[in-house]
Symmetry: D2
Subunit: 147 residues, 4 copies
């Protein structure tokens, strides 16, 4: 499913891309994807980014005790997302801090933009929920998706 194509996107930014199929359970009573479910798509894309780009799955990293709770999300809904849509989500790393990462997401269906988002996540030890330094090998993988 994850397609870590490494292709250069707009602005010279290397983008990780994945595709998420809109399921019946993602829909609301208006017959379009319910926006909290699209926020969940950000996490799905983040998980695919680990599998397809980082090289270690998020479940593995989570079991090893590292977590990336969100501290900020900005999301713009540009066009309704429908049942059965294959949503192409690109993820670019905008900034890598000592213990935080800034991501930008752009989602489209058949080339038409449907939502875009920015997210700031912090790196925490899942045992203590305290902020920890992003391990070097991970920093390198994040940076490799940022330029």
């Amino acid at each position: 499913m994850p397609v870590g194509d490494g292709a250069s996107g707009q602005q010279g930014v290397a983008l990780f891309q994945t595709t998420i199929l809109v399921r019946f359970g993602d829909l609301d009573a208006a017959g379009i994807a319910y926006y909290p479910r699209l926020v969940n798509f950000l996490h799905v894309a983040f998980e695919d980014f680990f599998a397809g780009h980082v090289g270690k799955t998020y479940p593995q990293i989570f079991r090893e005790g590292l977590g990336f709770p969100s501290v900020k999300i900005e999301i713009e809904f540009l066009s309704p997302v429908h049942y059965g849509d294959h949503v192409n989500v690109s993820l670019a790393v905008e900034k890598v801090g000592r213990s935080s990462v800034h991501m930008r997401y752009e989602a489209s269906v058949l080339g038409k933009p449907v939502f875009k988002a920015r997210q700031v996540a912090v790196v925490v030890d899942m045992k203590t929920f305290k902020s920890v330094r992003l391990p070097n090998w991970l920093r390198e993988r994040f940076l490799a998706a940022s330029a």
Copy 2:
């Protein structure tokens, strides 16, 4: 919210009752409650049962290390549940084992049955996920909802 009325229901069974408001996020594209969300209502009612009948909230019990994972659920959907419905859910304990509980749920909207379910849950230590004996004080509270 929880209404532990202790009133006798049909068949002489004392029922715990609670009311759950159907939210936009519970709906599917057909404009009715999505059935996995109604299965979630069973857990909501179970939580209200602790707050309203057992006398200790489920969050407290969970934090103390006890969990009640489901091992079996049978659910019949009798009539569609709509947006804004106040779903009255009654919970009766059918059987209390050494480390399991059997519950029966009956849900209605304005007196009209909408779904009914039976559930078997086991009692586990959340640290080890191993089956443990239901503590006596809890057994008494469950039994008090069973006849």
Copy 3:
């Protein structure tokens, strides 16, 4: 449940307030509320705002053919939200356009801020999904929550 207290909040802004109980189904594997579920809390608060302040429930308005899809959300997660927390959410209307509304949410648990958000929603005819003018009576109710 909804508490439309009409009390003046900080900065002289009249706030609508409601309380949302964190359910087991809102939690993630870290034992805290999963952030897309907190985004869902915005909608829950918006629904309570209709019931408690607008004077007509959202389900009624939705059935009459009016919808308020989100076009933009900014949310900051300030502190983890835990199982059993009673999250106090205040909603203030920041701006009322011809066919859009801007809302600000502030959420706290026992006085401690847990998240805050801004949301822009547009007013649409649910049949055509086209933007429509906010009805006057609704505009007045929104404005009454904005100063």
Copy 4:
């Protein structure tokens, strides 16, 4: 994703099979898949069954006005489902009525059974929500998955 292998399963029943990846958003506070999310997996498998076996996607059929609301589900949770598990779900049609279908699901992770379920769905016109006769071409596709 869907793997309609047509291979004979146990008891000579031809099974449709698909694989569902357990996402972070499927987990509960115990770190395992929350059971209403596993009930949602039944619908996901049902959707994949249309794409992979029926030959017309469920979104298409839904847009054409046909729906399959559940009237009964029995589900047994045999073993916890964990983050990152690839859940293999097989779907066999047990019975095809005039306007109903009976399905059996068996789910496993790396060969270990994790849940099994039976489901009865009725065929309805999504406009009227009235029961309608299952179209012949669909009946044939369902029957082809039943023996």
